[in-house]
């Protein structure tokens, strides 16, 4: 069995500093690009004067929106069917928006030249509070006036900031359940805007060859094939003449799914100058302009009997999408998978409504390991469950245990239509409580409170729906979310697997080799994994939403099984028996019951390439490919417990322990799985306690550097305590479910629940993230976050 904590193949280059990230690539004659950005959140552009910049001795070219308009590249499609300005033509709609692009012979000169561009703006009132975006008299972000003839389709929502109204569930049944309930608990809560902040920022290097008409784009992309589709549409260069290469990525977490204006500028500049053009954003550009995450204003209600049986759940959400609707998610799901908000509980009725609005903020919305908004959904139900427990004077663990779905209820169709594939929730929660020593913790908490010390214990139980997804229901830009895998078996039996998904640190080169090695009885070292190059890999939609193993991993397994079946026919010819008489055992085809007759893939590959006479219809070689169209999503789940200590004088929160029991089905490489959980738990600390992208009322981004957008360090993150259960997905070829986002989805609620639990003696029932010392102190005073 090739599964297990195999060392990572990719580490050999990374520990030597020999990774190849976007900014490590240099081409002969390469120019460096820099973007001039709007200092204002909302303004009409009166004029752009680029004469002085163009005259700079090191500047090769300057581009404005008007220049790109002539090339038909001033606007680009977003991944959610909207149209986004590449360079603003006559209006800017968020601070940091792209206004002009300079290419120069070195990166410093390009920056210098930005200073020489003179832009005159006429300021407009910015819409910075989503809750006021639909008020009468509020200025309209997408007013439809300034768009001219540029967008391929006219804006859909002229004269309003409303993007969509969307709902799921049975409103009448939910209302009835609420009316009949003994107890109703409700809460307004916000999930603040955050940013995935991969350590490597985004960038692209475009190289257009005027002679061949071929365009090569190296880009920080989690979805190189999807990017190629967009570049083809924008440039008019046909797809077969475009190669998109995603080199080593220094993290992604959703930030590298979209196409950004800077990528398109690099392409346009390379086509205009005939020279390679590299553009890499700086940290402030990244935090201010690339995809944000969350920004949900939620009103949640939970109904229950007095004995703690949850009856119904209701939510009304205002979703701040920023200035362009650029959420990277399946097209039929304007609020992502938020409607899975009943979480892990047996709830008969549920209804949610989501309204999306434009504001004068950067576009995005679906990123930061959110599993298409399941993060927000889990947070809502887990906060409400804790509040319900408080209202009923019940222990939050007991209340959860009472309402969790039972193993016998799977497959379970939720009240909003999700078919959960498998799970044993009570077992996971029991394991987490046991690992935590829950009863002892509650005793310690009571004892400390008598001494004026405030520790909190927070629980979160989550269910994810990942591995998007079934083509009939899920597409991005009309591209169904099935992914391909090509598997070539060389005459020596060494294998090369080409996949469509894109590692950003997840270790695909190792995990996917393990999948193939396991299916074919090969050594992991005998399988090479190719990814991140559209010329060398089959089509697929890339890595996000924890879809690599659920979709592409399945494709790899299916392709390997096809190889195995081809090898079976070769084995039959070689052994001169009927293929029906063969069985696969110990990585070999053998005559049933005769291990000594076994022939492995290496020998069969040699035979398949030899002059061995094969049966009619068998052409030789063992190569195979597959396209995997998932029959359903997979449903990882887990139980998390956070223990924190709160200094009620300073408001400082110290996370003491994080206990995480995860069930992601079959674990191919447990070391890598645990590493991903570690990351998500750190995310939980950062999101719950430290991080938020905030703005002042004038539209200035107040979180444009790592001095203001705080990331957890080794001092804030305790050693995680992990547990595992394994409930294989019944419909996935190898029973795996995906793990990349579980801990980011599940842990923020546990951290917040622990802080609110610690503050129970002060009557605190809820406090909004981020629970910075100031906001915790305000909560203790009975004041909302940010109240000054």
């Amino acid at each position: 069995m090739a599964y297990g904590s195999h060392p990572r193949k990719e580490d050999a280059r990374f520990i030597r500093g020999q990774g190849t990230y976007i900014d490590d690539i240099t081409l002969p004659g390469m120019l460096h690009g820099a973007v001039l950005r709007s200092p204002l959140a909302h303004a009409r552009i009166e004029s752009v004067d680029t004469l002085a910049a163009s005259a700079h001795p090191k500047v090769a070219a300057v581009f404005t929106g008007a220049d790109l308009r002539q090339r038909g590249m001033a606007w680009m499609p977003t991944l959610f069917g909207d149209t986004q300005a590449v360079l603003a033509t006559d209006k800017v709609v968020f601070q940091g928006q792209e206004v002009a692009f300079v290419v120069a012979t070195d990166r410093y000169a390009a920056r210098d030249a930005l200073e020489l561009i003179d832009v005159e703006y006429e300021p407009l009132p910015p819409v910075m509070d989503a809750r006021k975006a639909l008020d009468a008299g509020t200025s309209v972000v997408r007013d439809g006036v300034s768009w001219g003839d540029d967008p391929p389709e006219p804006p859909r929502n002229l004269r309003t900031n409303r993007i969509f109204d969307w709902s799921a569930g049975d409103a009448a049944a939910t209302d009835a359940a609420f009316a009949a309930a003994d107890v109703v608990v409700s809460c307004d809560m916000s999930y603040p805007r955050s940013h995935p902040a991969p350590l490597e920022t985004c960038g692209a290097l475009a190289s257009f060859d005027p002679t061949t008409g071929r365009l090569t784009v190296w880009a920080t992309s989690q979805a190189p094939h999807a990017h190629r589709v967009i570049y083809a549409g924008l440039t008019g260069i046909p797809e077969h003449k475009i190669r998109v290469v995603s080199p080593d990525l220094g993290g992604g977490f959703g930030a590298k799914v979209p196409v950004y204006p800077g990528y398109v500028c690099a392409i346009a500049a390379s086509m205009a100058t005939g020279r390679p053009v590299k553009w890499v954003e700086d940290r402030s550009e990244s935090l201010m302009s690339t995809t944000f995450a969350r920004d949900y204003h939620m009103h949640g209600e939970i109904a229950a009997t007095s004995s703690g049986r949850i009856l119904a759940l209701r939510a009304r959400v205002l979703a701040d999408h920023g200035a362009f609707n650029a959420a990277a998610q399946p097209s039929k799901y304007p609020a992502g998978f938020f409607s899975i908000f009943t979480g892990s509980y047996d709830i008969a009725a549920a209804y949610c409504e989501v309204t999306g609005v434009h504001t004068n903020k950067a576009p995005g919305g679906v990123a930061y390991s959110c599993s298409f908004r399941i993060t927000e959904a889990v947070y809502l139900v887990e906060r409400l469950t804790d509040m319900l427990a408080r209202r009923l004077s019940m222990d939050p663990a007991s209340l959860r245990m009472q309402n969790l779905l039972r193993p016998s209820q799977f497959p379970h169709v939720s009240p909003t239509g999700w078919e959960y594939d498998s799970g044993d929730y009570p077992r996971a929660l029991s394991m987490a409580l046991s690992l935590a020593g829950y009863a002892d913790l509650r005793r310690e908490q009571a004892e400390r409170r008598t001494r004026g010390e405030y520790m909190g214990i927070g629980i979160s139980f989550f269910t994810e729906a990942v591995g998007a997804g079934p083509r009939a229901h899920m597409d991005i830009m009309g591209l169904g979310m099935a992914d391909g895998a090509d598997l070539r078996i060389h005459p020596s039996g060494k294998a090369v697997l080409s996949i469509s998904v894109q590692t950003q640190g997840q270790g695909h080169e190792t995990t996917f080799a393990q999948i193939v090695a396991s299916e074919l009885g090969l050594s992991v070292d005998d399988v090479e994994v190719v990814h991140g190059d559209t010329d060398r890999t089959p089509f697929g939609l890339g890595t996000y939403g924890s879809r690599s193993t659920p979709v592409s991993g399945a494709a790899a397994a299916v392709a390997a099984r096809r190889v195995r079946e081809r090898a079976r026919l070769v084995a039959a010819a070689l052994l001169e028996v009927s293929s029906d008489d063969l069985e696969w055992a110990d990585g070999k085809w053998q005559v049933r019951g005769d291990p000594d007759s076994g022939v492995g893939i290496a020998s069969l590959a040699r035979a398949a390439h030899s002059s061995l006479e094969l049966p009619p219809g068998v052409d030789g070689h063992l190569d195979a490919s597959a396209v995997y169209n998932p029959p359903n999503l997979t449903f990882p789940f887990g139980a998390y417990i956070c223990v924190s200590d709160v200094d009620v004088l300073t408001g400082e929160v110290r996370v003491r322990r994080l206990i995480a029991v995860d069930d992601c089905g079959v674990r191919i490489n447990p070391m890598i799985v645990e590493g991903q959980i570690h990351r998500g738990l750190a995310d939980g600390i950062g999101i719950a306690l430290m991080q938020a992208i905030t703005f002042d009322s004038s539209g200035n981004c107040l979180s444009g550097s790592f001095m203001d957008y705080l990331l957890p360090t080794a001092l804030e993150c305790p050693s995680p305590e992990l547990g595992a259960t394994v409930t294989p997905s019944p419909h996935h070829p190898i029973g795996a479910k995906g793990i990349g986002e579980s801990a980011t989805v599940g842990s923020p609620a546990a951290v917040v629940n622990s802080v609110v639990d610690a503050l129970a003696p002060f009557g605190v029932t809820h406090a909004d993230m981020p629970l910075t010392p100031a906001n915790v102190w305000l909560a203790i005073q009975g004041r909302p976050a940010g109240d000054t």
Binding site: R16, G17, L199, S705
Partner: protein, 187 residues
């Protein structure tokens, strides 16, 4: 300005702008792309290299400040690698305690890795690899100065650097693993 910087024991003389950052000197002038740029504000530490014996964030050091000094980068950690020098990291009195050679050739490649590099690979101390060079340079410095650090000392040492992938757990484990090999007589 003309400057001469000894990088991984090799002298490099270049004519540079006074404003050129050391990280860009290393990456763009010398092609040593192992050190990464991450934030501009000294918060992330992806750019950590040694200036003489001290780790610095090379995004906030001017290249001209390194004139006449020695710089050690991740490319200089392993011995026998293309860009390394046999004396890398050796303090001036020659008292460098880590001896990569005692471990022989690494299973992760043909060159002889520093125990810190080996430990990062063994303990899954990296995922995307972007923070890794800076983390390893700090780890090497820590272990040279404190061969048997406690976990708290390890966490303190890397607290000025950011990793977005590992939650730090396996980085801490890696450095503690390397320390057990660095101590004379260690396992």
């Amino acid at each position: 300005m003309k400057i001469t910087v000894t990088v991984n024991a090799v002298d490099h003389t270049r004519d540079v702008e006074p404003r050129l950052l050391l990280i860009h000197f290393l990456r763009d002038e010398l092609g040593l792309t192992g050190s990464h740029w991450g934030c501009d504000t000294s918060n992330c530490g992806a750019c950590v290299v040694w200036l003489d014996e001290t780790p610095v964030k090379s995004c906030t050091v001017l290249a001209v400040m390194a004139d006449g000094h020695r710089v050690t980068t991740v490319e200089g950690l392993a011995s026998g690698s293309q860009d390394s020098a046999s004396q890398h990291g050796a303090s001036q009195d020659g008292a460098s305690q880590h001896g990569a050679s005692q471990h022989g050739a690494s299973p992760y490649g043909a060159d002889v890795l520093d125990p810190v590099q080996e430990a990062f690979a063994e303990c899954h101390g990296l995922q995307c690899g972007f923070c890794t060079p800076g983390m390893m340079m700090t780890a090497r410095w820590l272990l040279d100065n404190n061969p048997a650090p406690t976990e708290a000392e390890v966490r303190e040492a890397i607290s000025g650097q950011v990793c977005r992938c590992t939650g730090y757990e396996n980085i801490v484990k890696s450095i503690l693993r390397a320390s057990s090999r660095t101590i004379p007589g260690g396992s």
